[in-house]
Subunit: 224 residues, 2 copies
Amino acid sequence: MTETHVPIPTLERLAIYLRVLLDAHEAGIQTLSSQEIEQHSGISAAQFRKDLSYFGEFGKPGVGYSVPGLIQCIERILRLDAEQPILLVGAGNIGSALVGYPNFQAHRLRIAAVFDNNFVKIGRPFGELVIQDIARIKEVNADIGARIGIIAVPAHAAQEVADLLVEAGVTGILNFAPTILRVPKHVHVRNVSFLQELAVLSYHATEDALCVNGQVTRGGKDGI
Amino acid sequence: MTETHVPIPTLERLAIYLRVLLDAHEAGIQTLSSQEIEQHSGISAAQFRKDLSYFGEFGKPGVGYSVPGLIQCIERILRLDAEQPILLVGAGNIGSALVGYPNFQAHRLRIAAVFDNNFVKIGRPFGELVIQDIARIKEVNADIGARIGIIAVPAHAAQEVADLLVEAGVTGILNFAPTILRVPKHVHVRNVSFLQELAVLSYHATEDALCVNGQVTRGGKDGI
DNA sequence: GCGAGATTGTGAACCGTTTCACAAATCGCG
DNA sequence: CGCGATTTGTGAAACGGTTCACAATCTCGC
Ligand SMILES: NC(=O)c1ccc[n+]([C@@H]2O[C@H](COP(=O)([O-])OP(=O)(O)OC[C@H]3O[C@@H](n4cnc5c(N)ncnc54)[C@H](O)[C@@H]3O)[C@@H](O)[C@H]2O)c1
Ligand SMILES: NC(=O)c1ccc[n+]([C@@H]2O[C@H](COP(=O)([O-])OP(=O)(O)OC[C@H]3O[C@@H](n4cnc5c(N)ncnc54)[C@H](O)[C@@H]3O)[C@@H](O)[C@H]2O)c1
């Protein structure tokens, strides 16, 4: 284990391992080998061990991994060992699904405040929270200290909201709007795009050959 | 352009290019160079050209790409040129956000039927649809012929629903439940996991060194 | 205490994707 | 028509992540 950059796919898988481990813990299992993790996660044992090797040594040769021990370690790595407050912007359809989602709590991710710019919505209850004015976001986060924000507003408002989130001190953004966000280098953005996912499935859903090819698509000045 | 396997990241980017092109089309722009696509998409011009090269030649040297022409080509590649019907299972929070989402329509993705197993919900309206009994899914899809299904049910029901979807003729599944699905080889699964996304952000949101390391985590029989 | 069996951690090989760099193609203009 | 400016398409190189394979480590039972 050297002090090296951790691949993002590794971090994503860490969250999967954590889920598997929590399930096992629930079931009263004390120890798991990388082989068994493979069974439950669909990720190869070698990959699992390599992933962990970025952070240290957590297993015992000949035995495997202590389930509660590894849970604690992965939680620490992912900063899920202490409560992680999150700002949600956009009290619409997506926002509504998110505030009520109980699984976040199990990972100590807590939506600590909801913001909108619609005066009709501001002040209304939203899950267990009350919708607040987006104009007050910086002020509110001075108390909360959230480092993660979720953008669930229409695409045309996303950049503006991203700027506000960054100004409020957020360094990680989960973006549901179909737009490329421009943010300072120190801010990490992850885009969630159902359309993209469905497009990939759409491509694979049909096996027929494509009708696009050289001589048809290239051509005269009427072009493609 | 040889007949080769297309990387999944390429397909994902294709959906992004399509969005950029549709925006440009909306704005009345007739032609775009790979350089300009880079500006709008955040994806490098070289990457863009390489991505397209898997499918043919679509541009004119010295000019660029015809916006409407390329839109048509990418839509054909992604099978978004004809209406793509989709089955949604789970009339809950996520399902609710999806049925009302207008952007799907712009890509000819249409949620053609919604299913649930809750007798209280079956028969109720859901968006413009009526919630149907999951038990009838195969029968219903005999008419619809959808090849894509969305799983928006609790994790413990996801595998069972996946089996039903496959039996109903679906070859692509978008899975929102936090579980690994076992499906036949010809079926493609894409998982959407907000938890995973947030975990990655959580990791990056703090720059402090980890407290995990060799001598602490490895050790005596009290172990990790 | 020791040998058999199990399992980890990791350098090295492998493989697929991204980036680079340039020849070939097209356009506009004099 | 020809030349300079522009931009494409694509082999080849660079890069980064995954897989492999094995020495090192640990447990258990005798
Ligand atoms: N609903 C879906 O299934 C779905 C799927 C994929 C992507 N998305 C994307 O997610 C985003 C949210 O979708 P939704 O369906 O929840 O939309 P929505 O219209 O239901 O909700 C958007 C909310 O954002 C608020 N808002 C608008 N501008 C704002 C601003 N400047 N500051 C603060 N709040 C503002 C609105 O008042 C509204 O409450 C959109 O970008 C959409 O494209 C949604
Ligand atoms: N809500 C969120 O923000 C969120 C976030 C991430 C992941 N998810 C995941 O998405 C999935 C759906 O979440 P949700 O919040 O919409 O849940 P939900 O409880 O609101 O809705 C689930 C729906 O599925 C139906 N259902 C249950 N078993 C079924 C079966 N066997 N066949 C058909 N229908 C069945 C239920 O009747 C219910 O209507 C869950 O797996 C959840 O973990 C949700």
